[in-house]
Symmetry: C2
Subunit: 125 residues, 2 copies
């Protein structure tokens, strides 16, 4: 894969992930993209999601349910998963310092998943 070529489908995917705070799965993105790119295939969605993740243009989130979710916001932030409704929402925090003792690896990124019950579900209980 020497030279990366431009692709309409990848543009549409990146565009579909911009300016939204939900965290769609590959299948959800596939369904949405079919409206603008009717012939797009699920394999193309997966391949381009992987390319964009590798490129640091989007984030892949795991945990909560069994599938991966994708985030167009690459600013470091955490996520909260409601085990009641399954919704995945953003949690931002500033001035966050962490200290490790006896840790000599190199941390390139971290991802925090909070689990519990969200605002709406508490009200609905």
């Amino acid at each position: 894969m020497a030279v990366r070529k431009h692709s309409r489908q990848r543009d549409a995917l990146l565009n579909a992930l911009a300016d939204r705070t939900d965290h769609p799965s590959a299948e959800t993105l596939y369904q949405e993209l079919r409206e603008v790119e009717p012939k797009i295939s699920l394999g193309t969605v997966y391949r381009n999601l992987a390319l964009l993740v590798e490129n640091g243009e989007i984030l892949k989130l795991t945990g909560g349910d069994d599938k991966s979710h994708y985030d167009g916001n690459i600013k470091p932030h955490d996520h909260f998963w409601c085990r009641s409704c399954g919704k995945l929402t953003d949690i931002f925090h500033e001035d966050f310092e962490m200290t490790f003792k006896n840790f000599n690896g190199r941390i390139e990124s971290h991802q925090t998943l909070y689990t519990g019950i969200c605002d709406e579900c508490i009200k609905a209980e």
Copy 2:
């Protein structure tokens, strides 16, 4: 499933997860348990893992690779995944305070996944 019955297999599973700091997958646990419970089935491993997680006796970890990993240590702590060797190691931290603004949900647990290169792999590079 009104009354929970005792089971040799579930005991063996819980025992297999005690006092270890690696984070085996269901398949790994299955292979190990076959030595003490030769007739155990993979379905039994999965069902009991789910029961133990639901019961708060073990933790289910996701992220890193595509499978779930299980942790017998339920003391809150984070994990570090080396994307080079795939190893999942514990990261403990004390006096850890987090402040949330405008967050009204109820957090019952959180899980942090750090990604990067571990000690050993840095040396091996």
